[in-house]
């Protein structure tokens, strides 16, 4: 199978959906002439024109709010919030308008809106350009939260998101854009709300998503050599969580490590862990372990930044701890 980058995979998804459905248009800061801060929308302005690839003012609330208005009238806008760190600027639109409008109006409207954004540490960009804020979003009924880790999932999930009649927050990771992976030729869709077992194993389940999948797979490979068989579940969607796949894996391995880049307190892992407790407590042979981000603003210094998020080493330690 051909190998392309996560960035190219996303670009293909946008391109294919725009060509398939003229109701799809893109709007965001620096997405047109510049091609997106991370290059995801490169080339689309030339192909589809200014009407469908719109550079906006730096107005996050209006970007999401107008996306909602256009979605209500039948368009399928894909709006971009350049860094997830900026989501606070449009949180009212997202939480109070986008997420709730269908329910508040008794189901009389649809919101086929995709909000693409990007998060995570790794480029020493400091506290305003490195956060992982998925837990904030998981707390909002009415939206779905998608966080792909591989190029294939990025493409398939973005295409599905654009076709969904529900609002999706699609969170990419800045350190994944240049990663390469096999991506099928031609049309395919990846379902939202379905986790994927990226590596099967017997002894421990790692529940993870986004960039931490890559770290977890590296850790699993090292542990395999030490005779520890790790199953790595890529959650892919955080809202809704795929409880079935989680449960099946935990029933098999009886031990769970959650690997998440976001800050630990009230983070995504808290919800994931409690889901394990509610769904399959009786199958657990050890307490659930969270390997998570430090509860601090992201520091600039490269050594501190590395310490603030999980590492292959800390994941290995976590796995060994639940096996004690």
């Amino acid at each position: 199978m051909r190998e392309i980058t996560y960035r190219q995979a996303l670009n293909e998804a946008l391109d294919e959906e725009m060509s398939r459905d003229e109701k799809v248009f893109l709007m965001g800061e620096d997405i047109a002439i510049y091609g997106g801060a991370y290059g995801v929308t490169a080339g689309l302005l030339n192909k589809y024109g200014e009407e469908r690839v719109k550079d906006t003012p730096i107005s996050e609330a209006a970007i999401v709010g107008t996306g909602l208005g256009a979605a209500l009238l039948g368009f399928r806008p894909v709006v971009e919030i350049m860094y997830i760190d900026f989501i606070g600027l449009c949180m009212d639109q997202l939480n109070n308008q986008v997420a709730k409008i269908r329910y508040m109006f008794g189901g009389k409207c649809k919101v086929p809106l995709t909000i693409r954004t990007e998060g995570g540490a790794g480029r020493t960009l400091g506290a305003h350009h490195s956060q992982s804020l998925e837990a904030w979003l998981m707390h909002i009924p009415g939206i779905k939260v998608v966080m792909p880790a591989t190029p294939a999932d990025a493409k398939g999930l973005l295409k599905t998101s654009i076709r969904e009649d529900n609002p999706i927050v699609f969170i990419e990771h800045k350190m994944l854009y240049n990663t390469k992976g096999p991506v099928p030729d031609g049309e395919y869709l990846t379902p939202i709300g379905v986790a994927d077992i990226k590596k099967e194993g017997r002894d421990v389940t790692i529940l993870t998503y986004s960039r931490m999948l890559l770290f977890s797979l590296q850790a699993a490979e090292i542990l395999e050599k030490e005779g520890i068989s790790v199953e790595v579940v890529d959650l892919r969607t955080l809202l809704p969580l795929d409880k079935q796949t989680i449960k099946k894996s935990v029933m098999k391995t009886n031990r769970v490590v959650i690997v998440e880049e976001d800050t630990k307190t009230a983070g995504a892992g808290a919800e994931i862990g409690m889901t394990v407790v509610e769904e399959c407590f009786d199958y657990l042979d050890a307490p659930i372990k969270r390997v998570a981000g430090a509860d601090v603003p992201m520091p600039k210094a490269p050594n501190l930044e590395k310490l603030a998020i999980p590492s292959v080493e800390s994941i290995i330690e976590g796995v060994k701890e639940v096996l004690k």
Binding site: P57, A62, G65, M104, F105, C109
Partner: protein, 320 residues
């Protein structure tokens, strides 16, 4: 002065009376605890909603505010379904899930009231973007209060709409108070038209207690927007007769001020003009009033007798 046809005059009067009596009835239901929760009442401001919305085509869009009953009625909302919604009933326009703050009727072009001040600006501007992309001749009227002028998204949206020449009329209902805070204590710029200058769009101001004046200005600016000139700002100076919500003792304003505006009540004043000009007879005015009273009684009865939503409704309508 705008001269309505006899039929038009009757409709304007009827809708203003519907809003007034609807709001008086809600106040009564709140006082009797038949209506639970709160409601922001539109009484006093009828000339704005009716003057503007009666100048739109029925397939044009509006976004409304936390004080949205008047807009919903003027946009040909069904009185029964609106009253039932405010009481949280299954037969409500949003199946009882929205309530007073979220009255919406998309089929009639009402993109919804909003519990967040300035919450509708994004929706209105986005709907206008959609209309422009569809090359439609429809427009959006975005209602908001003086309080919303000081919220960030208002600036973001007005800039964007003017930049992209979107077909949206920003309609500021200046009722002098953002809850309790008077515009003099909240707005650095007293003449709100100057706000529009910042976005290089035209602005106008009109007496919002005079429905014909509102209508004349609305027609002018609706035509401007519909002709593809981009957005504009129309400020309607008005007054709400009740407090901000039911628990409001109105300590921030004087009895004299309330009296001043009640003497300018848009409904009896318009009725008088209708009779003076021979658009309606005294009897016709009385008939309209009693028909409205009957309709409001029926709506109230309908709402009270309607069932609450089924428990299964708790989880429905969240996702498609």
């Amino acid at each position: 002065m705008y001269t309505p046809s006899k039929q038009e005059a009757a409709k304007i009067l009827r809708q203003m009376m519907e809003i007034r009596q609807f709001e008086d009835k809600i106040m009564e239901l709140l006082a009797k605890n038949i209506a639970e929760g709160g409601s922001h009442l539109y009484a006093g401001m009828e000339a704005v909603a009716v003057g503007v919305i009666s100048s739109l085509n029925s397939d044009d869009y509006i976004t409304s505010t936390h004080r949205g009953h008047g807009h919903a009625i003027a946009k040909d909302g069904d009185l029964n379904a609106l009253m039932a919604e405010i009481l949280g009933k299954k037969t409500g326009v949003c199946k009882g899930k929205g309530g007073s703050l979220h009255l919406a009727d998309l089929d009639k072009g009402n993109l919804g009231a909003n519990g967040i001040v300035a919450g509708g600006l994004g929706i209105a501007t986005g709907a206008a973007l959609a209309l422009k992309m569809q090359k439609s001749s429809k427009i959006v009227v975005c209602f908001f209060g003086d309080g919303a002028l000081n919220n960030g998204i208002t600036h973001e949206c007005m800039n964007m709409a003017s930049l992209w020449k979107l077909p949206v009329l920003y309609l500021c209902e200046n009722n002098l108070y953002a809850m309790s805070v008077c515009i003099n204590r909240a707005c650095s710029v007293k003449d709100f038209r100057k706000r529009a200058a910042a976005y290089d769009m035209p602005a106008d101001i009109v007496d919002g207690m005079d429905v014909l004046a509102v209508k004349e200005a609305a027609i002018k600016w609706i035509n401007y927007v519909r002709s593809g000139n981009g957005p504009c700002l129309l400020v309607c100076n008005t007054y709400r007769y009740y407090g901000h919500s039911r628990s409001d003792p109105r300590v921030y304003r004087t009895k004299e001020e309330e009296k001043f505006y009640k003497e300018r009540d848009p409904i009896p004043n318009f009725a008088k003009i209708c009779i003076q000009n021979g658009w309606l007879t005294e009897q016709e005015v009385k008939d309209i009033e009693s028909q409205v009273t009957k309709a409001i009684e029926e709506a109230t009865d309908f709402a009270i007798k309607s069932p609450l939503p089924d428990p299964e409704e708790l989880y429905s309508d969240l996702y498609v």
